[in-house]
Amino acid sequence: MNLEKVIFGFFIILAFTLNFGFFLGEIDNPAHHNVYELFAAIVVNVVATALKLGDRTQTGALLLASSLVAVLQLIAAAVVWGYASHVHAGGMDAMFMASIVSLAGGAMVANLISVLLLIADTVALRR
């Protein structure tokens, strides 16, 4: 067992699970989506991206690419949230919430790809 591999796997899976937790619930209901969960998802995704830096293999490149996509989507979601609650005159409404959650949903797909790549890589290594 390799501690580095454990940490690596932990952050990739945590990025996916947090993202999934935020995504769960009615798409346009602000009560179903917690801002702390989005914050945690962003932080863990950034950490996961940093951990993936500097891997020269093909899988490493794909992992990094999917992570970058996820971070970008989540940051877009955070920006929309900030705009909706502070800049927009009407405050947070169902339309903004829906776009935040759909952006997070896109990030979740990228995170799912990350997890699948990690599993595929491990399985290929076993053989």
């Binding site: 801002v35 932080v43 950034v46 950490v47 940093a50 951990l51 830096l53 500097g54 502070h86």
Partner: protein
């Protein structure tokens, strides 16, 4: 090549991993703390900072800009947390910036970046060039004379100091220099051996074996391109000639022949000097070497070549050599360095008409010349200069003929490199007429 840019990028990213993690941690901890700690607004009502304002505050606090406590004045608990967050984030930034600076200073990283820059330059090169291996005194002269003739050069040298010298030199154009071992074939490819603009390879390192390897590699990888090599031993020269090296320069032999030519027909020698001169250097004055008995100090590679040249002209030569057995001297030679008056007197300096100071050390050669001048001011003196740094002293010694083996090679190289195809006037006229309308 994409391989080097990848190397640079991955090296950079891998080293940035730890600083990025540190920054992410510092920012997220600071932001989270600010969001969680309860505060009060300007009416004294309980108020919690949201993520937007917390991130805004941390952004200017971490970079020590400090716009103040926004949007409402902080409570004591918030201030306590801010003190902690300031130290945390400022230290994280210092660490990250230190890492980035260290990475930029890192020799491996700089090497990768400079190699990438070199590869780019070679790929984008739009003018015909020669690859010059070895940037010593000779290499520098070759580059200068190539530039003087509207040519271009790419330099490879193993010594980083020499490459630095190259970048500091005030050439009209920036000459790309690669710090690498030219005898490794892939380095020659890096320097553009297969580039369609490459017109040839010039191997001028001080090591015959390296020159030989360069010649072999160049001839195998790109047989169409001429290869010009320096060889100081006849063995290497024969070896190079056997696989078709286009021009082999033995500086000692050439000087021996030149001295013979100067004795035999001074005007021919002068014409040769003028035509083969390095662009921009003053034209040499005619010399008139005497045909009496000559004294030759030093019977090494240079001495042997000069000896052969003098004998060819039927001149009587007295040899002076410190190690007659080691250098295979004829039996009638005089043992000694030639730097002492005794040895020179024994060699009959008073009755001699010329002397060649041809040892491998500049201080000995200058000493021989000065001693000889005192003993016989009428002597015709030839000095061998080994190092560029002794130029000032040889100029002060005011010798009629100074032999520099680093000067011989550039002339030969230039003579070869600059040689136009052998067209007559009619052909040149015709070519001009045909080519002009196209331009």
């Amino acid at each position: 090549m994409p391989a080097t840019i990848n190397k640079v990028l991955f090296l950079f990213l891998r080293r940035m991993r730890a600083p990025l993690l540190a920054l992410t941690a510092a920012y997220s901890i600071s932001v989270l703390g600010l969001v969680l700690i309860p505060g009060v607004d300007d009416q004294g009502e309980p108020w919690r900072m949201d993520f937007f304002h917390a991130f805004y505050f941390v952004t200017y606090m971490a970079t020590t800009i400090g716009f103040g406590e926004i949007p409402h004045a902080f409570t004591e608990a918030q201030r306590m947390w801010t003190v902690f967050a300031v130290y945390l984030s400022v230290v994280a930034w210092l660490y990250a910036i230190g890492k980035i600076l260290a990475l930029i200073q890192d020799p491996a990283f700089r090497l990768a970046v400079s190699q990438h820059a070199f590869d780019r330059t070679i790929r984008k090169l739009q003018r015909s060039f020669f690859i010059v291996c070895g940037y010593g005194d000779t290499g520098a002269l070759v580059v200068r004379s190539l530039l003087g003739r509207n040519g271009f050069a790419v330099v490879i040298d193993q010594n980083p100091d020499r490459i630095n010298e190259l970048t500091l030199e005030d050439y009209a154009l920036q000459i790309p220099g690669l710090c690498a071992d030219a005898s490794v074939a892939s380095r020659l490819l890096d320097a553009g051996l297969l580039n369609p603009h490459c017109r040839g390879v010039v191997a001028l390192t001080s090591d015959d074996a390296v020159n030989l390897r360069i010649a072999i590699a160049a001839k195998l990888l790109n047989p169409d391109r001429p290869v010009i090599c320096r060889a100081e031993s006849h063995d290497t020269a024969r070896n190079m000639a056997s696989f078709g090296t286009d021009q082999i320069i033995n500086p000692f032999d050439i000087f021996g022949q030149r001295l013979a030519l100067a004795l035999h027909s001074p005007a021919h020698h002068l014409l040769h000097e003028w035509l083969g001169n390095i662009p921009g250097s003053p034209l040499p004055m005619p010399i008139d070497p005497p045909c009496g008995r000559w004294i030759l100090c030093g019977f090494g590679r240079f001495g042997k070549a000069v000896h052969a040249g003098l004998l060819q002209e039927g001149v009587d030569v007295t040899l002076v050599e410190a190690d007659p057995e080691g250098t295979d001297c004829p039996p009638d030679c005089i043992e000694g360095r030639g730097t002492e008056a005794d040895t020179l007197r024994e060699a009959g300096i008073e009755t001699a008409s010329g002397i060649v100071a041809g040892t491998g050390r500049d201080d000995y050669n200058l000493s021989i010349v000065m001693t000889a001048r005192e003993l016989n001011p009428e002597l015709f003196m030839v000095g061998r200069q080994n190092r560029e740094s002794s130029s000032l002293l040889f100029a002060a010694a005011d010798l009629p003929l100074v032999m520099r083996h680093d000067r011989v090679a550039p002339r030969r190289t230039r003579g070869f490199a600059g040689a136009a195809p052998r067209f007559g006037w009619k052909e040149i006229f015709f070519c001009r007429k045909v080519l002009k309308p196209r331009r």
